[in-house]
């Protein structure tokens, strides 16, 4: 019985490994989604749509919580950390709004 379980577990592990390798390009960029989405959408919500800080948090919030947040009103930028990745979005101008600052 014990042997059966360990065989199943190793097969499962192998399957996950195979799946992860197969989907590596998706998996490797995935953690960045949380902070890039939050920073970009918050930046646009606050500096472009000019809604309140509270409304913009509601607007940008996702299922996965963020760990750090910094709204820099002077430099008109928003920096967010989530799932170990940090991203910054910056307000450029009235015409062109916010853009994620390339890492």
């Amino acid at each position: 019985m014990k042997r059966k379980i360990s065989v199943i577990l190793s097969l499962l592990f192998l399957f996950i490994l195979f799946w992860a390798q197969w989907n590596w390009k998706h998996l490797s960029s995935f953690p960045s989604i949380i902070s890039s989405f939050y920073s970009k959408e918050y930046c646009s919500c606050y500096f472009v749509m000019q809604l309140s800080e509270e409304q913009c948090h509601d607007f940008a919030r996702q299922w996965v919580p963020i760990s750090e947040f910094k709204l820099d009103k002077e430099n008109m930028s928003v920096t967010v950390k989530g799932l170990g990745r940090t991203n910054t979005a910056k307000f450029l101008s009235k015409e062109y709004g916010c853009t994620l600052v390339t890492e």
């Binding site: 960029s29 960045s32 646009s44 749509m49 809604l51 509601d58 062109y96 853009t99 994620l100």
Partner: protein, 393 residues
Amino acid sequence: MKRSLIFLLLLTFVHCGKDLSPFGGEPEITTLKPRLKPEWPNPNWKVVSPESVGVSSTKLGLVEEYAFTRTGDETDRKGRRTDALVILRNGKLIYEKYARNFSEDKIHLTWSVSKSILQTMYGIAVKEGLVKLDDPGYYHYEPLSRDEAHKKITIRHLLNMSSGLAAEEGYESGPLKSSVIAMLYTRGRKDMGAFCAGLPLRAEPGTQVYYSSCDTNILSAILKKVYGAEEYDKLPFEKIFKPLGITNVTFERDGSGTYVGSSYLYMTAKDLAKIGYLYLNDGVWNGERLLPEGWVQFTRTPAPGYKTTPYSEDLDQDNYTAHWYANTGVPERGVHEPWPDAPKDTFAGLGHWGQMLYVIPSLDLIIVRFGDDREKAFIKNDFLKLVKESVIR
């Protein structure tokens, strides 16, 4: 031999029940009548009472109740959450209301309604003779020349959401493999057009309708090459917004300075209505033709790729034309009109989380609704039915 016979048999069974045959003749799209007494909003819309243009205020009250009654939890962002509603008849403003901190001079994210305005930019490029609808994209944009299959993608295919590129448009539903999320926030954000042009093909270009933000951002990148970066930067502002008297507007760009035509245009509700009015007037503004003859006709015609798109459950929700939507079904394939209680000639630009621009030529109506619906509680057909019923003559 036996094996291939079995394979063929299996293939037949797999396709059982899926009608892949072309649907009937050409769709009936009536031409728009020229406006006898246009009321051009220069720069603002004329405000009149609903009754003076044949609309019942009492019935409009029901529209307001539908749009502005909060039905869900605000912190969980559930239910119907309207931010703005503007209704125009005969070129005059008859209804205007805002909520959730929005006002007449605050711009709102239009999400995918941006696609319909990117299409307006193409109308202008076609009128200026810089591009032709059937030009292969690679004529203007090198990343589409990566192989013979990609070289077959034309501008028309891209406008019809029929490039055949294997994009995944899932937003919240499947974030891991969603190419739209990767395009906007991770792997594609530096240069969305190039990221999208690098996708493999899932179908022969022109044969399958698949709603894809990638198609739009490739179009946007093509325009940048066609005009050159400097002129492209000014293009929407100089050639669309300025003539229409739109000054309060933001159009965000990707890391390479290409307009995110799929998603990031911000406008006020009353200014977005001007785009609707341009299309209601067959591409003419203030007596001047901005969009080429036949462009609005093209805008209202369903994508030919529906004829060969494999049947799916989502098919009847799309009804995509050329970066706009039309209230035309495909009866031969069991695809009904998306808004059966609205007039048949209704066409629209629609965006994520409840952004809507409706143009109804037969009733001379334009409706702009902005919202932040995080679930499907705002039923477009129910809403349009109420608007239609408010028209008394």
